[in-house]
Each structure stands twice: as structure tokens, then as C-alpha cells.
Symmetry: D2
Subunit: 346 residues, 4 copies
């Protein structure tokens, strides 16, 4: 079975990752790439300032860039991936949904909307059920699914594993790579020999999205998980890979070994891009792992890596890491697309 | 008044900072530099691979390097600063104390010993009273004073300010500069485009030293503060300046403005190297500060800089920063030396 | 004697360096700061996103930002420093010159114009004589003096020293800091764990400006030096300080010691901001110097540092370094301003 | 056909690359790994501090580390790769050669020995003929083949392409990655926000090895090419990938297009690890390439990438780049091993 897909906003940093990940995908066949008006009509090679360190797939390089409008998308396209800037996405995504498209979007708008599923396929696939609510309320045939922010995705699979012990509080401090801000988001003058202890909006995203992802769906709505989540987000001079320190308070007494086992046993999903082992866990013999440069490519960048689990008063502290532009962005949307196919929404 | 001082372990990274800070010091006159046997008899210029970006003071450059033994120190030296590796310090410092020297040491051995004052002059100068206990127990005429670890010093002045609201829990995540590990401590292959979520021994130091520094001295002993402190320590690719994210639970309800005021009002000391304003506090109009490269030189590297104060459940989170090899190491010992003079121990 | 000065384009990266360097200047008194229309009427503190690691001087912080037009400058201002973007400078600088102002400009426009002096005060102060030519040809009372590009300034003092041996060819390869491109000129995604072997326009500037600076002024015009200069310019992940490898062919046979002596003896100028020793030269005992982080602050960033002099076929190779935003930009214009005062043009 | 191979010095940085490159190799089957005495008897997993970002191949992880002595190598091993430190290699390699082993060595000792072939298979495969000379002179049955230094390999294929126009002079300036110095060779304090304009011994290697590689073999000896080669070698803060600026004087007049064509047409070899296109050449539309992070993985790290070709007086300047630990070290030895098999020496 082949699903024809398109990418809205295909020339940016996340768009380029989509193209890299869709190359040789077993199910998805890329049939349309869109960009802003200035690039429409150019070939993709002309329109994109290609930065990924594998070459542009030849068939994509010659593809003509279409406008980001429903009538520019070939009729036989069934699924759209969106990596539009959130402001643009907020105004444009509804047009596609009204035109009946299924959109798997990485853009941050509407993630917390009550009728929009925010999903990590291995964690809360059942939240896709919100699509029925969404269609009823919005009156469209399409479907909008969001994936969370890159820093949220890195942590939530580990919190889901911890939640079997009753997650009550999570304080998290992040060390985030510059690619998370897009190609021009962080200047070199800002970050060389430096760190920036604030990323606008990021802390709120982690604090709210986590609770939605871990929340229960009762067929009509998602109730937020009642854990308190507080985040401090830092930018550091790394290219890719977000590293996070989590301090978690739990209802039950646990040992570090219990926590490592729970993380190790956290199930993955049976989707083409899901890793066999969702969370790779380093034990005490490797206290210096995970590290961004060494571990971000685990499971081709689709896995989560944890380590440094130690007891603290009322719970545990540990570290986790994921590749922010693969598992944390393009790969997250791709995986939601695979889930949509698997669950029959396409 | 002039106090003649010496430096034990003068050629290393911290030793070089001592020399830089002692140049033109109003009270201290450098009269002796020691190093390991291999360098004894060389001039300081020959023995030190000088890395500080100001030149070697001319009078020091020609000084002959002495052995790290009491009989190598001129008789008129009253105060010794120690930046020996902790293993060496543990075996050598007692010799100097028995010989009657006052030693202000940056080495990590004996910091938690019950009869050794661990002091930050602006925070707990009264702990110097432990010297009497120490002399009685150890039977020596000298006096040993320790300063805390660089990552501890960065945080404790802010915790002291918070403690007026009843500090109960502090979870802290650090982003530490490579200079904290000494000149060869972190290889470039380890840290470029990377971060390391573990620094051996560092977390324990922060967790224990903080509580001693904030503890009460009753004339006989120091009781540890009963706050729970948990630290996750990370190395990042910055040269100087430790940045820390603190999540603090407090007994009282406070606003961010209360906390900023408390930090701003935290008193400094009337010592030559103390900053006029101990803690510089950025408010919400500068959420991206403090940053290592921009703020580590505040008060010539002797100040603390805080910012990003925000409410969280049960307390506040905020960020703090200090120059790890000035305020966090050589400058910390220097300041303890100034306190020893001020309080009449020399 | 006090000269009242203004800064055109005072809020950018070079403008901020001007303000830092003018603080406590013995001769110059800052009386006006201009910026683009959007900032006019704001205080300097409001208008500038201050990035320099010393605080904004208090008297400047409250200064009102003026428009970049002659009628916005107080009448008693005698000298203007320009750090406008070159496109803006090309259209605006003539207005100030026609209004009679003396302008010492760091902007790259008109550097190679036949009647515009391009000067490094220690190297070719006599070229200021072109001001008479300029005034005659342009019919203005003002005077326009340019300083060269940062990468040119780093090398030319060493070439001037070599020229006593008959400079014939110079191939130069640069390792340039990101600050040379302005605050947002190089993104972090471009440069972390990377280098870029091209800087638009930079190679041409080095190749032409060098020959003008080393050329002879006969009272009417400057003839370009006939050395062949070829440059390859690279951006690397350093904040400040341009390092350059020079391969020079010379008419005479020389030893490395001859070249070191010539560089060491290259005279400085008797101006407030000139270093006592213009070129600091490392010999064979320090083959790893100069280095950007260790040597860029030599002579408060106003000196040149050389080293690694070795014979090669037909000449010598060596390395040189200067602080690109001090000696290479704001400091270069400042020094030209000091020369203009010294020589009586103001 | 399968050739059983061993690695001498398998636990270091280059040794780890050998293991990565040998995994799934079509011809070579890894049968022995050696290390220093301290590790003998451990499993490879225990002995190596694995740093490569792909996992240790499972079959290698459990392999027992052997001593670096001929009698520790299984009898059926036909080819040894050596990544021993050059001092160790100088004393140990002869033992293996006398024992009859064929050794393809990355160590720098003996590269310029008159009877040792120094080869890049695509450039001078005929130099292998020196093996007959070597066997006769040394009286051993084994064979020693060396590959050049990483910085030499990066440049020589481009010089070979230029030599059809009569190479007379090459001045080269390098920007070299820290991995070239081994895992602990460059400390982070040395290189963050910095560059080092000297690498001990590296300049001499480039200057001499280049001329041997480009020299003619007449059946008895290799005469050095008579081009003058002068190198300035710099270390910069990149992990992998050496970038080099070359200034070449040529006997013939050429255009940049001629040079690009010559580089593009430089033949590759028909060996398993040779790239299809040996030198990838960027033209004027991409003046900012090659760049280390974007181009070091060209042809899985086995290719050369060039660009920035421009005319200069008497020749051309251009830039070239290769992955220093793949094409420049382990991959270079591997390729020599493949050539030895292809040419029937094994």
C-alpha cells in the first residue's frame, strides 16, 4: 500500500528533514512540496537552501514547488505533513482541513486545543479518537493531528514510564541544541562560549503539552494529567540533540533499578519509523551518558535515550535525550502519519 | 598593613588565577610560589605554562619556584593559599598547619570535616569560629579554612537570600564551563557539539556543602541546614562561567518580586575583593540573562548574577551564574584570606 | 583639549565598541549618537541591544538617539565616527561632508576611491594629505578618512615590516571570528563544528586595500604597491580575533630572525590609543602563538601579534592576529580620529 | 574471497574507526584485535572506551584483546592494519614484517623511507612495486605499506589533478579538526573560542609526503616531485573534517573551469571503498563549500571535496576537504589493504 503525501513548508529546516526521512519510506510517496509565494514555480533544488548532510533525493530536487493552498495539491494526495511557521499554520491549516485533507502537523498552534489530538504514537495513540470530536465540532472532513514540541517529546516517554509509580512532580531543566530554533534562530554571537537560560514559549509548552500527552481520553475529551511540571529551558552550543535533567517526585518508593526497568520496558509501537526499543537506558556503569553527539542518532534519531537514574528525596532524578529535529519534529509528524494510516484514518 | 602570602600549587590553572588576582592587591604581597618537585628551582615563568590572558606580572615571572614543604616557605609569610590537587592537599596541608601556617584552601579535601570552617565571607563568616575548635582538636597553631566547590558557590548566596522565606527543597541543574575541570580535564573531542550530564563527585559536593554553608554555628559545631538539595551537573562547551537552574520549594508564599528583592538585598561584605552588590538580579525584561559570556565578568568575576525568577508550585525557579575560576575558586580562597585578616586570625 | 565627537550608527556591534572605547577617552567627548529612524528619540539604552561585556556608560545610556542627518548633530561636534552599513554610508556620509564634518569611517564604501585616504596611523599617516585633494575635487569643507577592513588591518603592519626586504607576493589565508560579520551575520547552525571557506567581498578587500595602504603618496595621489596579494578567507567558530597565515615572497634573502626583528621594530605612533609596541612577536619557543583567545587582548585589543616565522622558498611564512572589532573596526576609526587631531585637521 | 585481517592498536580513535569500517566489509573478515599489555585478555568492549556514534559490532565486542606481538595473531590472518602510536609502531612493526605479515599502516614512522611505498590507491598505486625493493633490502617476507598523513591525503588528489598543468608551487593553509590529534590530543580549554596556528610535525609531513606521493617510481625508487610545497597548519574547533586553502602556481595558463574539470576527471580506483567520484567539485554557485560539517561525509567519508577555484597570479587558489579519520586515517589504510589484495600481494 502506498500513501501519497505532501509537505507544507518543505524548504525550511524541518521541511528538509521530512524530505530526508521520506526518502525510501516503505509507505509514503512524496507527491507535493509547498513553500511561500516567492518560491512557487521553482524546482525544489532552486527553492531550498539544502543543509542536511545527505544529498537532496534526485526525484525531489526536480519537483516543482507549489503554493501552500489546497488547490495546488494534486487530488490523489491523502496526507499532508506541515512544518509551517506557527503563525502561518494557524491561518492556512484550516483551509486544508476544510478541503478534506488529513494534516499531521509539527506547528505549535492548536496543540492544546481541546478537540485536537496531540500524540506520540508509542504513548497515547488512543487520543486520535479526538478526530471524531474535531470533525463534529468543526464540520470538516479533514483531520488535524499535532505532535508536541521537541523538548516535550524528549521527556514524555520517560515520564510515561515513571507514571506507573505515580508521577506527582517533574522539574526539568533542558540543554537544547540550536537547530531547535530553525536555521537562523540562534546567531553564533549569541551562543559560542555561552548558554542562554530562556527559550521563549518553550517552558510553557513543556509544562502543558506533557500533561495533555499523559492525560486520559474518555471518548469525548482529554483530561490533563495532574502532575505538576515545571521547566527551565536553556540553549547551548550543540547542533542537534536535546539533553534534559529531570527531577521527578513519585507516589511510590522506587529504586533506580525499578525506574531503569520501567523505562526499558516502555513499549514501542509497531510502525515503520518506531524504534524496536523505544527508550535505551544507560545504567550506573555509564554515568556520563546520554550525550548529544554520541546518542542523538540512536535508532536513526527516532529513539529516546536515558541514563543517570539516581534516588532523590521523594523520587528520582535522571537524564534523557532525543534528536530534536528527527524524533522531536519531522520524525514525530511522520510517525503520527504512520499511526493515522495504521489506525485507518487514511 | 601588608600580609605576606604564598601559593601552594601555583603553576596550575587555579594557581595562575591566584597570581592574576594578587597582582596589585591592596593587602597581600606575594612572597612564595610552590609547585611539584619537577619545577623546583625554575623561575615561575619557566615552570608555568601561562594561560591567563593578562601577562605574568614581571615580579612573579622571575620568582623561584619552591618545594611544597613548610621549610621552603620564607619565615615572614603569614598566609598560604592552596590550590593543590585534593589528593596532594590531603597529605601536605597538615604539614603546613602543624608548622603554624594559616591556610586558605580551594582543595576539596576536608571541606565537610566537622572542625574545618567552610566559608563564603558574605554568607557565613561566623563559621570561622571553628578555627578554635580545630586548633584544640588537632593541636596545631595553624588554621585551615576551606571555600566550597565552584558550583556550590554559584548557588549558595541565592539560597541564603531565599532562606528568609524558609528554604525546604532545592533541585539544581548546572551548565558548567570546562575550566572547572582544570586545563586538561575535558578534552575537545568530549565536548564540542556536545554536553556531558555528569561530573564525578560534583553533585555530592553541591548537595552537602550547601547545607553546611547555610547551617548554624553554635560556637562548637555547625549543624547542617535541613533543606533537601539535589543536583544534576552538566558540562557544556563554555570556557568560563557556571550557569545554574534552581527549582526551590519554600515554606512561605512569595512572589518573584519578593525573591528578586531578597537577592538584591543580600548583603555583601566589607572586604577588598567583595563586590559592592553581591547578587546582581535581572528582572523579567531580560529573561535571557544571566549568560556565561556576558555576565561572568560582573564585579570582576567576584559577583553572583541571577535572573529568570518565576513562580512554580510551592516556590520559585530561577537561574544564577558566577565565574567559576574567579569567584568559584581562586577568588573564593582570596576572599577567605581577606576575611581571616579582617577578623584578626592573621 | 577636548574634541566633541558623535557616532553615526551607534547601536550596532561596532557602534557599541565605539562607545566602550570612548568611555574615559583622554581627548574625545561623546556628544551625539545616531541610529536608524525607528530608534530616534529613544534613549540609547532603549535603542541598543547592548552586547559588550562591560556595562553601558551611564552618561551614554540616557543619551537621546538622534537621526543620522547633519541637522540632528549638535553644532559643536567636530568629529564623527561612522559605523553605518556600507550601503547606508554611501548615501549618507556625503551629506555630513558637505555640511563640513570630518568623518572617520569604518564603512567599506569609498575605501579605494582615489581621493579618500585609507589609513592605519602607524603605517601610512602621510596619506591624510589626500584630504586636500578630496576637498578640492569634491568641493566640500569636511573630510572623509577611511580605515581598512578588519582582516586587512591584521596583516598590513606585518607586511609593512617585511617590505624593507622587498615584498613581492603575499598569499594569505584567514581564520576569522564571527563578530566580524556583525551580530546576526553568522548563524550558529552555520558555524558550530564547522568552518566556511568564503566571506563575500572579503578577499577583494584584502587584495586591494593592502596595496593602497602600502602604496606611496606623492602629494597628489597614492600609487598601489606592486606586490601581488591573494587571499582566501575563512570563517571559524571563534567570537573575536582574526588569525592569518601569510606566505610572503621577498626580493631579499632573509632569516626568520631578520623578519622577527623587523616586525618588532616596526614603529608605533604617538597617539592615545596606539600600543607602545605595535607588533608583539612570538619566537620559536612559542610556535603555537598567536592564538585568538589568548592574544586578541594584547594592548587592549589595539596591537598586532605575530609568530611562527619560518623560511620558505623565496621568502617566509608566518602568522598574525588582531582583535577584529577593536583594532580591526571601532579602534581603527578611533585611531584615525586621533591622527586627524594630532595632524591638525580638526 | 575472504581475507582475514587484524588490527594492531585497535582500541584508540583510529582503531575504532577501523572496526566501524570493517563491519560488513565485502572482503575483509576481522579476526584479531591487539592493544597494549594492560588490556590483553579483556574483551574488546571492556578494553575500548568506545566513542564512535554507531554501536560496537556485536562480534567484535566480545573478541578477546591480544598482545601486539606476532605470536598473538592467529596463523590464518593475512593482513594487518596498524594504528599504533608512531613510536610504538617503529619498534613493533618490524617484528610483524619479519614474521611474514603484510602490514598496511597509518602510523607516521617510515613514511619517507626510500623502500616503503607511501600510497593513495587512486593516485600512485604503482608505488606498491617498492615492496619488491623492500623485501630484497630488508630480507623479510612481509610487506609494509604506509598511507600519508590526514592533512596530506586531503590535498594530494587535487594536486595530482593540477599536475597535468605543471605544478610548481603549492602553499597550503589548513583548518584541521580536533579528532586528528586523537581522543585526548587537544583539550577543550585550548580550542573553544580559539584556533592554534601550529601542529607539531604536521607541516613537514605535508611538505615531504606530498612530493613522494606525486613522485615517479622507476621500478627501483621514487623520485620526489619537484614542486615546492609549504604548509601552515591550524587546529580549529571542529570535530571531524580537514579544510585546506591551497595557493598553487602552475607552469601552464589555466582557467578555473579547466581546474574544476581536471579535478572532476581525476580517476578513482576500482576498489570496494573507493568513491565512484573521487573528487566532488563545487563551482562558483556554491562559493561557501566545501564545509567540514556538511561535506565530510561525502562518499561515506572516503571522498575528497573541492571548491572555490579562482585564478591568482601564476596559478589558482582553491579549497579542499576530506574526513580526516576516515579517508585521512583508518579508511586510507583500509584502501591500501584493498589495493594490496587487488594487486595480488596478498
Amino acid at each position: 500500500m502506498t500513501v501519497r503525501v505532501g509537505i507544507l513548508g518543505a524548504t525550511g529546516a524541518v521541511g528538509q528533514r521530512f524530505i530526508q526521512l521520506l526518502d525510501d519510506h516503505p509507505t509514503f510517496d512524496l507527491a507535493a512540496v509547498t513553500a511561500s509565494e516567492a518560491s512557487v514555480g521553482e524546482t525544489y533544488r532552486e527553492a531550498a537552501k539544502w543543509r542536511v548532510n545527505t544529498p537532496i533525493p534526485e526525484d525531489v530536487a526536480g519537483m516543482e514547488v507549489a503554493a501552500t493552498r489546497p488547490d495546488s495539491i494534486p487530488d490523489d494526495v491523502d496526507l499532508l505533513f506541515s512544518s509551517l511557521p506557527s503563525g502561518v499554520a494557524a491561518s492556512v491549516e484550516p483551509d486544508f482541513l476544510e478541503a478534506g485533507y488529513v494534516v499531521s502537523s509539527n506547528s505549535s498552534n492548536d496543540r492544546m486545543a481541546a478537540d485536537v489530538p496531540l500524540t506520540i504514537p508509542e504513548i497515547n495513540p488512543d487520543h486520535l479518537g479526538l478526530i471524531d470530536v474535531q470533525r463534529e465540532q468543526r464540520g470538516w472532513d479533514g483531520a488535524l493531528v499535532k505532535n508536541p514540541n521537541c523538548s516535550t517529546i524528549t521527556m514524555v516517554p520517560t515520564l510515561a514510564a515513571l507514571d506507573r509509580f505515580g508521577l506527582e512532580v517533574a522539574n526539568v531543566s533542558t540543554l537544547q541544541a540550536v537547530s531547535g530554533a530553525g536555521y537562523s534562530g540562534v546567531t553564533s554571537m549569541e551562543i559560542i562560549d555561552n548558554a542562554i537560560p530562556h527559550i521563549g514559549g518553550e517552558e510553557e509548552k513543556m509544562e502543558t503539552e506533557s500533561r495533555k500527552l499523559l492525560g486520559a481520553f474518555d471518548g469525548a475529551s482529554v483530561s490533563l494529567h495532574d502532575a505538576e511540571v515545571t521547566a527551565s529551558c536553556n540553549r547551548i552550543p550543540t547542533i542537534d540533540g536535546h539533553l534534559e535533567n529531570v527531577f521527578a517526585e513519585l507516589a511510590e518508593d522506587v529504586t533506580p533499578a525499578d525506574v531503569r526497568d520501567a523505562m526499558h520496558d516502555q513499549p514501542s509501537a509497531d510502525l515503520p519509523s518506531s524504534p524496536d526499543q523505544l527508550i535505551k537506558v544507560f545504567d550506573d556503569s555509564d554515568p556520563e551518558r546520554p550525550q548529544p553527539r554520541l546518542d542523538r542518532t540512536y535508532a536513526d534519531g527516532m529513539g529516546i535515550v536515558a541514563g543517570g537514574v539516581q534516588e532523590m528525596s521523594g523520587g528520582v532524578k535522571y537524564n534523557c535525550l532525543a534528536h530534536n529535529t528527527i524524533r522531536g519534529a519531522a520524525g514525530a509528524s511522520l510517525l503520527n502519519g504512520e499511526l493515522l494510516v495504521e489506525e485507518g484514518w487514511i
